[in-house]
């Protein structure tokens, strides 16, 4: 890939890759260059100009100047220091003197840099403009008075999150005094000139962002301008205790910090006040940032409940659980299965486990080859079987980030219409194919990208059958000569002038139509040219495989097709594990298909319920109250830490009663199965941080264990039998499970989510009847970004048992009646 180079920054030799930004190289080498507006992984905006340095004697901005071999960089000269000081003075002009009450004070970059640049005097002035405070959404609070227009919020929302919900708008401020232009340092003047013209506004032209409510913009805001509504004026940052952990809600298991403090003067118990994240390295979604207060409260040790739980386990024929579970707990359940022959049923994970097994045999390895992290350098990304906006935020951010930062292109295959994904980039092609056509999606991908030599003959034949010569009309530009009469203004004479003007002529041309494109809802006429354009200069390809593929009547065939695709292309391939610790469960537990007899539910309904939700017969700690590990989509085993106290019993106590326990729950960490790729590592030895050079030091990466390879025989493809009204099992964006639902800042209800046009037809409340005759009565909620006829039924409430309604398919044929 890129060449290794050496540059010198302030006399220190730094190794780097060609084309890296100077700022990032400096950071990786522990050299400080002041910078406010730059966000790692996003495009530089040059709003603050603080990162000014001298490269080989020329003034450049470290955040957008690319390093060249042998460059010599000086980070401080008299002139630069003067600029930086002037910049900080300008930021302080008319900045309200309200640090005392501001939520950022103590961790404010404006405070820090004002001190760093030793600003103790103000030389500039301009009349202030009235700037209003706004609530942009249920979570966002914007105080324009405090905003320094660094545009970090705008940038992160566009380049990482993909909503592009913010933009700069007119401030209505006075013009700068002319005299400043001569007297001020010039970068400070330019920065001020821009600052004085703008504030931040929602990009849709309304007062509200109508966005994903991820809150990432509040995290990146260097000052107190953009804050979480819930946190305003509740606590000062320095009072909060930071607990590094991982988000438990989806399979990305993003790194985060729980920030806790005593609840109030009257209540000394610890409470989580907010979530913070390392936004330079990983972005959170709304569930991670706002879905934190799901702890099992006020639990005390109840020996009678423990006795009953032990009895229940002894009696149990089945343990039913889901993916909100640590690796350690999953291992305990597996131990119970091995010792007592109890069946383990996990409806979220079983189809994924089956899929992995088939894929593994076809590919000769236990896991998918790449991680999502590996894909961040890709410039062509394909997503299949994933409802990108809802299924996994990290995968969606990746897809978007590739479009924005790597100037990439992308293919998005999905039956459910989504209006957000196409906005990620100009080169995103969306294929809204029919439900059940996933095999043909893989076939098209093989056609487009595979090394045809390596394909089995039946696939080759199949491909050939989808080619057809067709004729299309194209408009061609031809230059025609016309004669015009022109009157010469001075002399008044009429002259004839010959001119060439373009005109368009329709022409018929023959082209090779790819019928697969047509079948999958693409624009077959222009596909060939568009594809060629999209492929230009692309060299790093990635494929994301999502949950639709595991919950599919032809899942096994799809798994084989994915393996075949990987064998015959140079794509990086990674799967999205369907829910939180689905990968961990799939590796650690030997799951059964059906439940029978006496059922113990583990955060799930059952005859005896062990639950961290506070609604069961036996209490266990929630994921923010216990130590343990989870296996994420990047195949990493990452540690979870306890943010809050828990005084009750844990699963390990039941295990101890049964004579199978260990001293502590985290003693199970080192017992995780080595044959599945886990390491014999002590929990307390697992690191959990990102380093300045962006490297991730969290837990460890699973080894991808070899599996005996079997010959791949692709089965016949099938067409979907679903007709009429189709429902899709899919959660609203910030809901993943009962625990996100418990959090007080997540309000998305358990409802039928439909597109705006569908909502008109359905009214407010409906009954959804499934083929087996069972039904749900649900309120109708509009998801503004859905389009088309398919409706979405969430699965985040375990008690609703939505998995049974859908079976092993994410789609179902339903009958909807108004209630």
């Amino acid at each position: 890939m890129s060449k290794e180079i050496t540059i010198t920054i302030d006399g220190i030799e730094c190794k780097a890759k060609e084309g890296e930004y100077i700022l990032n190289i400096a950071r990786a080498n522990g050299i400080f260059i002041p910078a406010i507006c730059y966000l790692t992984r996003c495009s530089p905006t040059l709003a603050c100009r603080l990162c000014l340095v001298e490269a080989d004697g020329k003034r450049v901005y470290a955040c957008n100047a690319k390093a060249k071999d042998g460059m010599n960089i000086v980070t401080q000269t008299e002139e630069i220091l003067e600029e930086r000081r002037a910049i900080m003075e300008v930021y302080d002009v008319n900045h309200p003197l309200q640090c005392g009450v501001c939520d950022q004070h103590g961790e404010c970059e404006l405070q820090n840099y004002t001190l760093e640049m030793e600003v103790d005097e103000q030389h500039y002035a301009i009349a202030d403009t009235k700037r209003e405070t706004k609530n942009w959404s249920s979570v966002l609070h914007y105080d324009a008075g405090l905003c320094i227009v660094c545009e970090r919020c705008v940038t992160v929302c566009k380049d990482m999150i993909g909503d592009s919900a913010l933009k700069t708008g007119p401030r209505g401020g006075d013009k700068l005094d002319k005299s400043y232009k001569e007297t001020m340092p010039k970068d400070a003047y330019a920065m001020w000139n821009k600052l004085q013209k703008s504030i931040i506004v929602p990009s849709n032209g309304t007062e509200y962002t109508n966005c994903s409510d991820c809150g990432e913009c509040t995290a990146v805001c260097p000052v107190g301008a953009l804050t979480e509504r819930d946190f305003i004026y509740k606590a000062n940052p320095w009072e909060l205790r930071e607990v590094p952990s991982a988000c438990a809600h989806c399979s990305s298991a993003c790194h985060l910090y729980y920030e806790t403090r005593f609840t109030s003067i009257d209540d000394p118990s610890e409470k989580i006040f907010r979530i913070k994240n390392e936004f330079h390295y990983q972005s959170l979604c709304g569930a991670g940032r706002f879905g934190y207060d799901y702890e099992n409260r006020n639990v005390k040790k109840d020996p009678n409940a423990l006795k009953r739980a032990v009895e229940a386990i002894k009696k149990a024929k089945t343990i039913r659980f889901n993916s909100m579970i640590t690796n350690e707990e999953a291992l305990m359940l597996q131990t119970l299965k091995e010792k007592f022959g109890i069946k383990l049923v996990n409806k979220e994970v079983k189809p994924f486990q089956n899929f992995l097994k088939v894929y593994g045999k076809a590919k000769g390895q236990m896991l998918y080859s790449n991680s999502f992290k590996d894909m961040s350098s890709s410039d062509f990304i394909v997503s299949v079987g994933a409802k990108l906006r809802n299924d996994n935020p990290a995968a969606r951010y990746l897809f978007n980030n590739i479009q924005k930062i790597n100037k990439g292109a992308g293919f998005y295959f999905h039956p459910v219409g989504d209006t957000l994904v196409p906005t990620f980039g100009k080169s995103v092609s969306v294929f809204n194919h029919k439900v059940g056509d996933e095999e043909y999606v893989m076939l098209l991908l093989l056609d487009l990208f595979a090394d045809k030599e390596k394909l089995p003959s039946e696939i080759k034949e199949k491909l050939a059958s989808f080619k057809e010569k067709r004729v299309k009309k194209v408009k061609e530009k031809v230059m025609k000569e016309v004669v015009e009469k022109v009157v010469d203004k001075e002399s008044g004479e009429e002259k004839e002038v010959k001119k060439k003007v373009p005109s368009f002529e329709e022409k018929e041309v023959e082209y090779e139509a790819n019928l697969l494109v047509e079948k999958l809802g693409g624009d077959v006429e222009n596909f060939n040219e568009e594809f060629e354009k999209a492929l230009k200069k692309k060299e790093d390809f990635a494929l994301i495989v999502g949950e639709d593929f595991y919950f599919h009547p032809k899942a096994a065939n799809l798994a084989k097709l994915v393996a075949l695709f990987e064998e015959t292309t140079d794509f990086k391939v990674a799967f999205i594990p369907p829910k939180s610790n689905a990968l961990g469960v799939a590796l650690i537990c030997d799951l059964d298909e059906n439940e029978e007899g006496f059922v113990v539910g583990y955060n799930e309904p059952g005859d005896f319920k062990i639950s961290a939700l506070g609604d069961g017969d036996f209490d266990i700690p929630a994921m923010n109250q216990q130590e343990g590990t989870t296996t994420n989509m990047n195949k990493r085993v990452v540690p979870l830490n306890a943010a809050l106290d828990y005084e009750g019993y844990e699963l390990n106590d039941i295990m101890n009663e049964l004579g199978l326990g260990k001293n502590l729950t985290i003693d199970w960490t080192e017992a995780l199965p080595v044959e599945k790729g886990y390491q014999v590592a002590k929990f307390d030895d697992l690191p959990n941080y990102f380093a300045n050079d962006m490297s991730e030091h969290r837990g460890y990466v699973l080894a991808n264990m070899p599996v005996d390879k079997e010959e791949v025989i692709i089965e016949e493809f099938s067409e979907s039998k679903l007709e009429g009204q189709i429902a899709y099992r899919c959660n609203p964006q910030r809901q993943f499970n009962d625990f996100t639902d418990k959090a007080h800042q997540i309000f998305e209800p358990f409802a039928l989510y439909v597109s705006p046009e569908k909502a008109k037809e359905l009214g407010e409340f409906v009954k959804v009847e499934f083929e087996n005759g069972e039904g749900l009565e649900l309120p109708v909620e509009v998801d503004e970004r859905l389009s088309g006829d398919i409706v979405e039924v969430p699965d985040f409430k375990a008690e609703m048992d939505v998995y049974s309604l859908f079976g092993k398919n994410r789609y179902a044929q339903v009958k909807i009646t108004k209630v």
Binding site: G100, H105, Y124, A125, I232, Y233, N236, E239
Partner: protein
Amino acid sequence: MSEKKRVGVQNYRFIELEPTPTTAWGKFKRVLKRSVKLELFVGLKVTFREMFKALFMGEMHTVKYPLEKLPISPRYRAIHEMKRLLESGHYRCIGCGLCEKICISDCIRMDTRYDENQRKEVVEYTINFGRCIFCGYCAEVCPELAITHGGRYETASEQRASFSLFEDMLTPIDKLKEQKEYPGFGAISPNADENIKKTPLAY
């Protein structure tokens, strides 16, 4: 330094004292002589005079605590006072938390919230006087001159909580006129104006 200098120039004088008696008889004689001469009452004369003045002439020197109390210096560091703004009567504390942060005994806590007027409201404020060491840092750090020490040094009560809440320390609204500022701990330095650099204004 010379020998001489170290000796100095004072004029020392020896007092002529009787030699201390060494024999038992000598000692007995001295005791007898001192008692009979009633030297004791010479010393007690002052005492009797002051007693007489105090009892009969109204010139008492001790304070009849708790009926009477000594005036106390405004800079005395006893139980804290929370001050109000003189113009509006609103409490001065803005809930910035600096006192809480600086307190070495970690004994200040406060609850704040975002109120209906978009301001930070101090819902409750408390100092744990079981831990406070009356160091005065909180008063020193307060940017609003909101917290100061007061003269209330009697800290015996059934419940410490009975004087450690916001309303206990806050100047009663009807006593606002009597609220005093003084140059001392936490107050603005007398030459503050000289130290401040003026910010230019564009109006």
